[in-house]
């Protein structure tokens, strides 16, 4: 009894480590299979287009609204902060830099982890619960190629495009609030933004977005594919997909930013 109690922490730690290893292993296998399905034929073109429309086009309103308000709020904050050391004029430059390098890719990815990763997890989880995935296999169609690869490819392709839109709209939000209420001239604001921005600022954000696109769609598919236990399992899968894609977005954002800064 005493020995059991003494060993309990080791038992709990061991179970935790095994659990983490199991999920990491399952995720690694899943990602490997997903990547293989993405880069080898046969591709289901119709599915890719359908998913690109769903992930990309239908996300435009939420991405646009997020970007415009973020750009506007950022401008106000920088104006207030800059005012503390008489540097209000740096608003256009910092808004442009903050939006393109960091805020647009991260916020777009986070919005899509709520809108897309959960949808993918719920869709695939419901298909798993109702034997549709098994049915697909018996119809000589590999579910990874039909369900997972199109979503991942669509995510990797559309997130940079959405981020590009968010770059423009976010900077426009900063411009709007700066010219309407902070006393900047439209021409000077635009000139400062264009003169300051470098191609790499935009490119690095778009590279991040492509990686986030993979994370959002792969996490949605991963958790949906593993869903079990009916409606409760599907709900759990959707939640897990959102939580873990969010965590991975922040973690990879730091790693990529760190890499880009050193490069």
């Amino acid at each position: 009894m005493l020995l059991q109690a003494a060993l309990a922490p080791f038992s709990i730690t061991g179970r935790l480590v095994i659990g983490v290893c199991a999920i990491v292993g399952a995720l690694a296998l899943f990602v490997g299979r997903a990547l293989f399905a993405c880069v080898t034929p046969r591709w289901h073109g119709g599915q890719i287009v359908r998913q690109a429309f769903s992930i990309g086009f239908l996300s435009l309103p939420v991405v646009g609204l997020t970007a415009v308000f973020t750009g506007a709020a950022l401008a106000l904050n920088i104006y207030t902060g800059g005012g503390r050391f008489n540097a209000e004029q740096i608003v256009p430059q910092i808004v442009a830099l903050g939006i393109t390098r960091e805020l647009a890719p991260v916020l777009v990815a986070l919005m899509l982890s709520g809108r897309v990763a959960t949808t993918i997890a719920a869709e695939i989880g419901a298909m798993r619960a109702t034997e549709q995935i098994d049915a697909m296999r018996t119809l000589s169609t590999e579910p990874f190629r039909f369900l997972v690869a199109p979503r991942v490819l669509a995510g990797v392709a559309t997130l940079p495009l959405l981020t590009g839109v968010a770059d423009v709209v976010g900077i426009a939000g900063g411009w709007a609030v700066s010219t309407w209420s902070l006393g900047f001239s439209s021409e000077a604001y635009t000139r400062s933004t264009v003169a300051f921005l470098e191609a790499w600022d935009v490119q690095s954000g778009l590279i991040k977005a492509a990686v986030f696109g993979f994370i959002v769609t792969a996490m949605g598919a991963f958790h949906g594919y593993r869903a079990s236990g009916g409606a409760r399992g599907v709900g759990h899968a959707a939640t897990q997909a959102m939580v873990w894609s969010g965590v991975l977005i922040f973690a990879t954002d730091y790693l990529m930013t760190s890499g880009f800064t050193e490069a």
Binding site: M127, E131, Q132, D134, A135, S140, F146
Partner: protein
């Protein structure tokens, strides 16, 4: 003598620490319709899932035409899929697709047939299960349970399979609809001249569909005979099932 279409040889499978199948030996002969009956939890679904490659046996082998499944790179399993059709218990229709796309799924996505041709084939398969072309452009959720079963059957038969699998084909259906589905299954199996494996606890269904009936109990085949022997079987477990099926509800 040629090898059976499918054969389970000394198959053992544990789930949750319990031996669901415990040395199962069973064969589906070419051109025969075999129905596996048995109570809940006796391993009927597991038997089917092993053949369809959704599970692997702990020990023993499942053979397709004398060769073990799934084969190198799952090639033999893929060959079985190409030559078979499955009617799932809950129909398992793809709810984001129209009925004709569900029925023609194999033609569209596995064989890459043109949509026009696939649609015509789907409408022909729907007519085989007594559904008109008017349902082709509906979504599965717009259909009744019986119609969904018919669509599932149309999807199973569209590629002219050599083996048909039926997983509890009448579960959840009213007696009239169940009788109609049983008759459709019998007609289609006869028309295609294929082998069929059905798992069910519905003895009415078993009597209609089967050439041969096997009772699965305790993870093994406890009794096997042709359908005419079901009512006269000496086996107490078969007698209990027959009596239970006749008892007023």
């Amino acid at each position: 003598m040629s090898a059976p279409e499918l054969e389970w040889r000394s198959v053992r499978k544990q789930l949750g620490g319990r031996a669901v199948l415990d040395g199962l030996d069973l064969a589906l002969e070419a051109g025969r319709s075999l129905v596996i009956i048995g109570g809940s939890g006796q391993g009927k679904s597991v038997t089917l899932k092993l053949a369809l490659g959704f599970m692997r046996p702990d020990t023993g082998t499942v053979l397709f035409r004398g060769q073990p499944l799934p084969g190198l790179f799952r090639r033999r399993q893929a060959a079985l899929y190409r030559q078979s059709g499955v009617l799932f218990q809950g129909s398992a229709l793809f709810d984001s697709l129209k009925v004709w796309e569900v029925v023609a799924f194999r033609l569209l996505h596995a064989e890459g047939r043109p949509r026009r041709q696939a649609r015509d084939a789907a409408i022909e398969a729907l007519s085989q299960v007594q559904l008109g072309p008017d349902v082709a452009d509906l979504y599965p959720a717009e259909l009744s349970g019986g119609m969904q079963k018919r669509v599932g059957l149309a999807r199973a038969i569209i590629g002219r399979p050599r083996i048909l699998f039926f997983d509890e084909p009448t579960t959840g259906l009213d007696p009239l609809t169940a009788a109609a589905i049983n008759q459709l299954i019998t007609d289609q199996v006869r028309r295609l001249g294929c082998s069929a494996l059905t798992i069910t606890h519905d003895l009415v269904s078993a009597r209609t569909i089967a050439d041969d009936i096997a009772l699965l109990d305790g993870g093994r085949i406890a009794w096997r005979g042709d359908r005419t022997q079901l009512d006269t079987a000496d086996d107490t477990r078969v007698r209990a099932m027959v009596e239970a099926s006749r008892a007023p509800r």
